[in-house]
């Protein structure tokens, strides 16, 4: 007899069918955003969304969705409509996202390294911490030019220059004086890779032992190679955690990031109904919603703010709002075509 088996690993699960063809549904709870689109799409009502508000706000150790393996027929629809790929569906070990007959949501996020200046704004802004910018800074010594010399005969080993140097370029070899060698330092060294020729050491030396000159202003244009001033690097987007929200695209100062969203729509907050409970702010996977800074200590924040530029129209906030103050409309769904009428209908039914 054909039946399904379910394997539960912590908050994740795997459902598979005992048959010649190997069908598997894999759920990853840490990726799930609790939007409930899978629950609405499941043709056999096998998926049940948990109490998302409570789970997210208390960081409870329970899965966001539960799937009844006796009801699940392993059709794969939940996997296809999941906007964040928390549900993976495989037939004979191949992901249905790579199969032509199955439709798939069209979304992507890319950073063009040719344009990227590695400022890390996207890395900081990404609400899912999916971006890593690895950058190599220019060598400081190649961006300055000058000369420095310490006259060790004149130097009294006071250490003032070492303490003052903002670039930590001067090091003294401190020691205790002995009858054999009654000095407090054995040597003083200037690291020319670190020195920026700011001349603070020269100005602060009480015995004028330092001779230094900065040539950056007068000769910098001739001495310095503009390529040496460039920051190089590479950008990485973790496609598993990325939800294609658009923060990187919006915040990038040089338009190096391009995000394609699978859903288009409208997000509206009824400020009259909103009680500023913050459930939507906590659940939103894209940091679309926030409270303005409160006017004075002890004052409750006014109403919730939203910026649709970052919204993926997943509807998680609408589900979690206890006073139905939020409405999320999906007006367009971008997906690859399918010849199946029932699948096409399901994809279209995501529009609200």
């Amino acid at each position: 007899m054909i039946s399904n088996t379910k394997e539960v690993k912590a908050r994740d699960f795997e459902i598979s069918r005992s048959a010649e063809e190997k069908r598997e549904l894999l759920y990853k709870d840490d990726i799930c955003i609790g939007c409930g689109i899978c629950e609405k799409t499941c043709p056999v009502d096998a998926i049940e969304l948990g109490s998302i508000g409570a789970i997210v706000r208390t960081d409870a150790d329970v899965p966001k969705i539960v799937c009844d393996e006796d009801k699940c027929v392993l059709c794969g629809m939940c996997s296809v409509v999941c906007p964040v790929d928390a549900l993976e569906f495989k037939i004979d070990d191949e992901d249905i996202k790579n199969m032509e007959e199955y439709p798939s949501l069209i979304s992507s996020a890319e950073i063009n390294d040719e344009i990227c200046i590695y400022c890390k704004a996207c890395e900081t802004a990404c609400p899912r911490e999916a971006i890593t910018i690895a950058r190599n800074l220019p060598e400081r010594s190649k961006l300055v030019t000058g000369e420095i010399e310490i006259d060790k005969e004149t130097c009294i080993d006071c250490g003032i220059c070492e303490e003052m140097c903002p670039a930590d370029a001067i090091t003294m070899e401190h020691k205790l004086p002995t009858s054999d060698d009654p000095t407090v330092s054995s040597d003083i060294i200037v690291d020319k890779d670190k020195c920026v020729y700011c001349l603070i050491c020269k100005k602060s030396c009480p015995v004028d032992a330092i001779k230094a000159a900065c040539r950056t202003c007068s000769y910098g244009e001739y001495d310095l190679n503009p390529e040496d001033a460039e920051t190089t690097g590479a950008s990485f987007i973790d496609q598993e955690t990325c939800v294609n929200c658009g923060w990187c695209q919006e915040i990038c100062p040089v338009d190096a990031a391009t995000v394609v969203k699978s859903f288009e729509g409208e997000l509206s907050v009824d400020q009259e109904k909103c009680q500023a409970c913050g459930a939507c702010v906590d659940i939103c996977p894209c940091n679309v919603l926030s409270f303005p800074a409160s006017s004075a200590s002890g004052m409750r924040p006014e109403k919730v703010m939203s910026d649709e530029n970052y919204c993926i129209y997943c509807g998680a906030c609408e589900n979690v709002c206890p006073v139905k103050a939020i409405e999320v409309k999906r007006t367009d769904i971008k997906h690859t075509p399918t010849k199946s009428k029932s699948w096409d209908k399901k994809m279209e039914s995501l529009k609200t």
Binding site: E21, T338, S340, S342
Partner: protein, 184 residues
């Protein structure tokens, strides 16, 4: 008084005799029971072999299809090595409703049941798949006749193999399968 004892004695004897007869009958039927499935299988193979020959297959091909020796096929076709009673029972089985015919044959012969049921079935069936099919493939996995494939996320039933058992329709989560009997 005497009559009373006689009645009790006779009753006891009768009971003992009845138990003995039941025991003997049970033993006889048991020996038959052990061999019965084999006899039915032989009967079904005989019917299939005859039908295949009628359809124009050679004895060699029939032997390959049924995975039997050529000589056994030849014996079968000449009516040897087989009790006529087995053929009679096999014929009755082919007249069962398609689901019972398939399930019984499958229990007896597993995978081999497919060709027996396909050849000996008295009717032809056509499967119609509605647009509501979601391509979950449950029918594909459940069909003992292996008559169903998925094509562009929609089930497709091969009329040549469909035996009309309706097992697929019973398991379909969206009630998308309709099986119609067509005239042979």
């Amino acid at each position: 008084m005497c009559d009373h004892y006689t009645i009790i004695f006779k009753t006891c004897v009768l009971i003992l005799v009845a138990i003995y007869i039941l025991y003997v009958v049970k033993c006889v039927f048991n020996t038959h029971g052990v061999h019965m499935p084999k006899h039915i299988v032989s009967g079904l193979k005989y019917l299939t072999a005859v039908e295949l020959i009628r359809e124009g297959y050679s004895q060699k091909e029939v032997a390959e299809i049924l995975e039997m020796d050529r000589s056994t096929v030849s014996h079968y076709l000449n009516g040897r090595n087989l009790s006529w009673n087995s053929i009679e029972i096999a014929e009755k089985i082919t007249e069962f409703c398609p689901k019972d015919f398939l399930l019984l044959t499958y229990a007896l012969m597993h995978e081999k049941a497919r060709i027996i049921v396909k050849t000996c079935s008295n009717s032809e069936f056509e499967g119609i798949i509605k647009e509501s099919c979601i391509g979950c493939g449950l029918c594909v996995d459940i069909c003992l006749m292996k008559a169903i494939v998925l094509n562009d996320l929609k089930a497709q039933i091969d009329s040549d193999w469909c035996c009309g058992c309706l097992i697929c329709g019973e398991s379909c989560p969206t009630n998308s399968i309709e099986i119609l009997e067509v005239k042979k």
